[in-house]
């Protein structure tokens, strides 16, 4: 453990959110809308006019050394296809603008053409590092509209899988963060441990990623025989490796130099920019939906909400590292608390009849056929369900017109919203620190662009 990160006490009375606004700082910085803002509000066409003819560069004022530099969309440290338009003076970033959309595939439009049962196959491809959370948010929203409850075992399986997914996602962050900062061996270690978790996922869901495992009404299949042994093996395997990461990174002066004081944000700024997850918590603001607005059965397990102090890149790194430990703590409790019973609801409207019934009953065959061709109808209405994904609040806004397909499905992606903090975190810093900042925000472009 470091002296920078202090775990918040997990008590109902501990509400740093309710304290006076004085210690939150000022949000003035993010409210600027003119040219003094950190956000470079420049369109493609305007940039082209500024750039002029590349063979005949504009000869402006000799004292004006500002230039506009494009970083990405294909750049090793932009995590996929993020493009940054940077206004630079020398090596200093003045203003910047994240340009997104390179991975936009219209998944919200696609969702309007898929039944509620097919929906998770679509949303799981959004945040591909934490696919189960998108499935969970979608399934919770559908269940709210249907007005059904899922059996306790399904709820606890969902929790188990989501917490392990959080571990896998944060391990991936450790890998990419290390790689971005030059700690290349960390990249291999992070991927290696993540693969152990994914191997368990493959055993349970059949796939390493894009599981389509959490579905409206429960989960797709029960946990396989021997799942406890597999989970115990993970619980034994990963914590010592995390201690290794501490040795390798946390206490290492070069690594700390690279992150401490880089990309600083106050709680008020994070709140104003709607930033959630580790970015908000790094500012010392304890807000975690699992504790503050519990869903599934998070009120029955014990865990700490990890908060930072300085709101810098190092805090965001340390929070994610320690959140792995907290998730494993939850998984350990789930091993003892996992109830027996159904893994999906027995509501005949939502769940198809078991395979054996189809052989003996014509009605069961028709019923099975209807559910998988037409899909089940969901009552008219609209709802919003939110879960705490590794990156922050992941919400699903769902509108039903009473038919078998969503009328409108909107995902509030935490990466998409958190990306707005980038210009403010990078303002006035060096371009090399910009790489550390992008990495510490940990955007998943599949979720940003959807």
């Amino acid at each position: 453990m470091t002296d920078v990160t202090t775990p918040a006490v997990d008590e109902a009375t501990d509400k740093s959110a309710g304290e006076s606004a004085a210690h939150l700082g000022s949000a003035e910085r993010v409210l600027r809308r003119d040219d003094s803002s950190a956000v470079l509000r420049l369109s493609e066409a305007e940039a082209a006019v500024l750039a002029g003819d590349p063979d005949d560069p504009p000869t402006g004022d000799a004292g004006d050394q500002r230039m506009i530099l494009n970083m990405g969309p294909s750049h090793p440290s932009t995590h996929g296809v993020l493009r940054l338009m940077l206004e630079m003076e020398g090596e200093t970033v003045l203003r910047s603008k994240p340009v997104i959309g390179y991975l936009h595939t219209g998944m919200e439009k696609t969702a309007e053409d898929l039944t509620y049962l097919q929906g998770p196959t679509n949303v799981t491809r959004m945040d591909y590092a934490a696919p189960l959370f998108s499935e969970l948010a979608f399934s919770l929203a559908v269940e709210q509209l249907l007005g059904i409850d899922v059996p306790p075992r399904a709820t606890w399986i969902r929790m188990l899988m989501c917490e392990l997914n959080r571990v896998a996602s944060h391990l991936l962050f450790q890998a990419t963060n290390g790689m971005d900062l030059g700690a290349v061996s960390m990249m291999i270690y992070g991927w290696r441990e993540r693969e152990e978790v994914l191997r368990f996922f493959e055993k349970v869901t059949g796939l390493r990623m894009n599981h389509n495992y959490i579905r409206p009404g429960g989960v797709a299949a029960d946990l396989p025989d021997g799942w406890r042994d597999d989970v115990r093996r993970l619980l034994e395997l990963i914590p010592p490796r995390l201690d290794e990461y501490d040795d390798l990174l946390t206490g290492q002066p070069i690594f700390r130099e690279r992150l401490q004081g880089v990309g600083v944000m106050t709680p008020a700024e994070a709140l104003a920019l709607s930033a959630t997850g580790p970015i908000l918590r790094s500012t010392g603001y304890a807000w975690d939906l699992r504790r503050d607005q519990p869903y599934l059965a998070y009120h029955e397990v014990e865990f700490d909400v990890i908060v930072g102090t300085h709101g810098d890149s190092f805090d965001r790194f340390a929070i994610r590292l320690n959140e792995i430990r907290e998730s494993l703590r939850i998984v350990e409790q789930i091993l003892d608390l996992m109830p027996n019973g159904d893994f999906r609801t027995q509501d005949k409207k939502v769940t198809p009849p078991p395979r054996a019934r189809i052989d003996e009953s014509m009605e069961a065959l028709i019923h099975h056929f209807k559910i998988f061709t037409e899909g089940f109808h969901v009552p008219e209405g609209e709802t919003y369900a939110a879960v705490e994904s590794p990156r922050g609040e992941l919400g699903c806004y769902l509108v039903s017109d009473g038919g078998p397909k969503p009328y409108r499905m909107h995902i509030r992606g935490p990466s998409f919203v958190n990306l707005q903090t980038l210009p403010h975190l990078m303002e006035g810093g060096l371009i090399a620190d910009g790489v550390a900042v992008v990495s510490s925000v940990d955007p998943i472009m599949g979720e940003v662009d959807r």
Partner: protein
């Protein structure tokens, strides 16, 4: 998450209520309903900014989400309170109050003839990207937005793909009638 439908009318506001059409309960001077346990406010476009301002003063510290829905293929909605007339577009915004543990959702009806809503940037700068997305995909404009441009679609794209009159794209398949190899 469950919030009781508190019927709460600010005393100072009461004599100003002139719309006789509003017969249901109101909060912050706008109709309120509870849908699947969630509080939903239905302001009009010209009440939009003041309602959000009232929410902010009441402790709602973060704008969670802003999105838009095109209801042109779903006429005759039943989930609107009395006094709220359905329009083609709807802008939906969610807010959260951390200290009080409350959530609220605002749904504003936006007519097709004039699809413009005031921008929330000066109250919640975090809505900047969300409003750009709503403009890009559904085509509801936000008055006073500092960077009113497309965000996900290419800059020179025409139309708004999440409108219901835009077809889902298909990749043309050659030899569609040819027997498939199975």
């Amino acid at each position: 998450m469950s919030e009781e439908p508190v019927v709460e009318e600010p005393a100072a506001e009461e004599p100003v209520v002139e719309e006789p059409a509003v017969v249901g309960p109101t909060r912050y001077g706008v109709p309120v309903v509870v849908a699947t346990g969630q509080t939903v406010l239905h302001p009009e476009v010209d009440q939009w900014l003041e309602t959000v301002r009232a929410l902010q003063a009441d402790g709602f510290c973060m704008a969670i989400d802003v999105t838009a829905v095109d209801y042109s293929a779903h006429p005759g909605r039943i989930d609107l309170p009395e006094g709220v007339s359905p329009e083609r577009f709807e802008v939906v915004a969610s807010f959260i109050d951390h200290a009080g543990g409350r959530r609220v959702r605002l749904r504003v009806q936006v007519p097709e003839a004039d699809p413009v809503v005031p921008s929330l940037f000066d109250l919640f700068p975090g809505t900047e990207a969300m409003e750009r997305e709503a403009w890009d995909l559904v085509g509801v404009a936000f008055d006073g937005h500092p960077d009113h441009t497309r965000i996900l679609m290419p800059e020179d794209w025409e139309g708004h793909p999440l409108r219901r009159d835009v077809a889902i794209g298909r990749i043309p398949v050659q030899f569609k009638d040819a027997p498939a190899v199975r």
